[in-house]
């Protein structure tokens, strides 16, 4: 059967469960809110964003933090739906990097 790295039940992730919570950074709170706002506005179904995360290659999926995966999923779906293009995202990223260094 074909199933991705996200399908973790009973799989070999045997480390201790790291119980303390980290304080959420502003960008993480914003990512969470943007996703909910996009779903609420009807831009996409939340299942699409979940599926897009599952399509991240396994080594990258495991290396990314939780909200990094969300950003990846949101970006993928917005491009698929023609709401944004990768060129637009890259251009805006470069612009913000320039402004805030």
């Amino acid at each position: 059967m074909l199933s991705g790295v996200h399908d973790m039940g009973g799989e070999a992730h045997d480390g201790p469960i790291n119980v303390p919570d980290h304080a959420m950074a502003d960008w993480e709170v914003l990512t969470d809110a943007v996703n909910l706002a996009l779903v609420a506005s009807g831009a996409y179904a939340v299942d699409e964003m979940r599926r897009a995360q599952e399509e991240i290659p396994p080594d990258r999926y495991l290396a990314m933090t939780y909200y990094e995966r969300w950003i990846g999923g949101i970006e993928q779906v917005l491009v698929e739906r023609g709401i944004l293009t990768t060129d637009e995202i890259d251009a805006r990223t470069a612009e913000l990097a320039e402004r805030w260094g």
Partner: protein, 248 residues
């Protein structure tokens, strides 16, 4: 459109088909090819495997809660025979009301979303789901996980904690729930059945923990103060009144 009548009834034994299709699959791998028993029918929902690929969610699907015995899934070495898991929360105040009002508790366990309206709260949000409340007893403990992602009753419990989203928890909660509980300092006797609920996007869980002893004199507000997030997920017990008074 799914038929008006579900194909299976509560109590039916069902075999989970292997799924080799590419794309969004909401059947966790560890239950595929195993036999379980239908323990609840949660209604009809748009098919997430269609919505994930920009489909319209039709045909809508009956959502069955299916319970598996741990030994059937994992073999004899990592569980006890009585263990089971099931496919398919303003949390503390809901629990406090359930503790002081038995008829409310029964309504909560029967239809959580309907019962919440009595408290003027709702689990509704941008991402809709059905809330199911499960009750810990001296004989049964419930534990909630989402092995496929991080489904969580966010509208009543807030954002899920980091550990709930971790690979270690998502992987281990279904296969060695007692060891996971031990790690949270929650030690469950061998004679207590542990039921693990693997959430779906459409059905999410709230654990109603046991009311601590020595709380007969406490009012609802004081009781709610004993109920931390982790016991609503099932990994911890409520604080005792003595411990609560020591909190900073």
């Amino acid at each position: 459109v799914a038929s008006e009548v579900p194909a299976y009834r509560v109590g039916d034994r069902v075999d989970v088909l292997p799924r080799s299709s590419p794309g969004h699959v909401r059947t966790p791998r560890y239950v595929q090819t195993h036999q379980g028993r239908v323990t609840a029918i949660h209604g009809r929902f748009p098919d997430p495997e269609s919505l994930a690929h920009r489909g319209d969610g039709t045909p809508v699907r009956w959502l069955y809660e299916v319970t598996f015995h741990a030994t059937a899934l994992w073999g004899p070495t990592r569980g006890t025979a009585g263990d089971a898991r099931q496919t398919p929360a303003t949390g503390a105040s809901i629990v406090a009301r359930a503790w002081v009002d038995e008829p409310f508790k029964q309504r909560l366990l029967a239809d959580a979303d309907a019962a919440l309206t009595e408290l003027g709260v709702s689990s509704a949000g941008p991402v809709g789901f059905k809330l199911v409340a499960v009750e810990n007893t001296p004989d049964v403990r419930h534990l909630v996980v989402c092995t496929l992602c991080s489904c969580y009753p966010r509208t009543i419990l807030g954002r899920p904690p980091d550990w709930y989203k971790s690979a270690a928890y998502r992987s281990r909660a279904v296969v060695e729930p007692r060891a996971v509980l031990d790690e949270f300092g929650t030690h469950v006797g061998a004679d207590v059945e542990v039921v693990v609920h693997d959430s779906t996007a459409d059905v999410r869980y709230l654990v109603v923990p046991e009311r601590p002893a020595g709380t007969d004199d406490l009012d609802e507000e004081a009781l709610a103060d004993l109920v931390g997030r982790d016991c609503l997920i099932g990994v911890a017990d409520p604080r005792t009144p003595d411990a609560a008074s020591l909190r900073p």
